[in-house]
Amino acid sequence: MGYTIAEKILMAHCAQDSIKPGEFIEASVDVALANDITAPLAISEFKKSGFLKVFNKNKIVLVPDHFAPAKDLKSANQCKVLANFAKEQGIKNYFEIGAMGIEHALLPEKGIVLPGDLIIGADSHTCTYGALGAYATGMGSTDLARAYIDGKCWLKVPATHKYVYKGKLNKWVGGKDLILYTIGQIGVDGALYKTMEFSGPVIEKLGMDDRFSMSNMAIEAGARSGLIQPDAITKEFVAGFKRKSKFYYSDSDAVYEKTYEWDVTKLEPQVACPHLPSNVKPVSELKNIKVDQVVIGSCTNGRISDLRIAAKLLRGKKVAKGVKLIVFPATQKIYLEAVQEGLAEIFVKAGGVFSTPTCGPCLGGHMGILTDGEVAIATTNRNFLGRMGSPKSFVYLSNPAVAAASAITGKITHPGAL
């Protein structure tokens, strides 16, 4: 009986020569990540435990990104906790705002997370790195505190669901649409406590940015992780990094609890309507939905190819009267690329704002909060009630092309209709 890629990575990290879904294991982690919301709790738990030194200062990553640049005094205090802990423990993977980015775009960009790694993060979207062929999963602060002590975590081995995408993608359709479609089909608990494995000819042709968007939202279907087997595209992405990757592949006789197969040739851009990521409709079914705000960015869709798509549509155009367009690149590197390529100019000339990297607007933190009755279309990952501000506001989720097209017309729009 064979194993899936996820099971093989877990097996390698708990030094067992067999593994089965449902089994509890104690695994060694390669990277333990936390941010300005979750690290302060982890650090305080670690300090209370009586241990003085972290297990390995090179495996700990601290990224102030949620309320950074600090939005108020309390968040400044939280960010300071990370800076102090990094200094005290000699943690070099601490990223001050000038070097920072949204954690799930930053870590792959820096080569901190690699194929074959076991990565835990006190942030639910840690599953993003599954796109590299790594086992990456979100946990809580106490789990991180424990990893600080001995470099380990407890895991219940999840069963794997396989998703096979066949056919050819339409123009304006990408990774975000595939994952929204998938969540629409299976529901927000359709992969509860499972590993998702994305595969098939459509995935094989997807670039890394689209793959990251897909794995990023595995959590929105309840999954522990969302993996894509490494291939030439993955290998090219990690080629320049110092630390070596380990490439794992699912066996041909690996056991899947469920397999879904979809021909996505006719798929059009997908939009998740309020207030759940599973409330998904094809964009053409949404008629006359006026938007007050358009948000392009986040750990889901704030990468350079996302910004290029948005800029292609916005070039020489103006956002509709009364629409607030906020573009926030995911990292400082992407920010600079967007400036150098002239994308920033396109956004500003179109009447949008071009913001520093931050998680801010996505979670209703800062830099674009919605008030009562406002409607937003966002390239982010969650549209829960009140997610971006007022409990009386409405969030639609889409890919960057739909978001940019909607900014121009002032209502939710198929980019092909411009």
């Binding site: 509890f24 709790l41 949620h66 309320f67 840690t126 946990m139 509860l192 309840g222 009630l385």
Partner: protein, 164 residues
Amino acid sequence: MVIKGKVHKFSDDINTDDIIAAKYLVSTDTQELGSHCMETISPDFTKKVSPGDIIVAGNNFGCGSSREHAPLAIKGCGISAVIAKSFAAIFFRNAINIGLPFLESIDVDKINDGDLIEIDLSTGIIKNITQDKNYKTQAFPDFLQQIVTSGGLINWVKTCIKSQ
């Protein structure tokens, strides 16, 4: 351990933004977090809770973010335990790790808002005092029981390290 309290009913897919909105994550204080518990979906919730009360919810309770502030807020507002048809995976492990008692039960629909219930965590039996009925749930696997009885993950790890 036996817990007794009045039931507060919630639906499916109660997410961590519902439990504690992101704007309050600038604090790690359990009492402060507790004072805003469920504010978005039930603004009067904390006023209705008496210490020891129990949340009873549908599927996928605690979906969304990894914020441990969510189970802390539930504890902080005086709730003593959560019963749901199913729990989101990160919430599940956070509850174990911080020692918030919880049970998975298929009989959630039979329990009404305001019922007085009693849970015996060692047997997994839920006693509905108002309706004079008992519901059986599955006890935690041994591994998780160990963490819970140690008083949470950090204490459990300390015990493990000591015994090595």
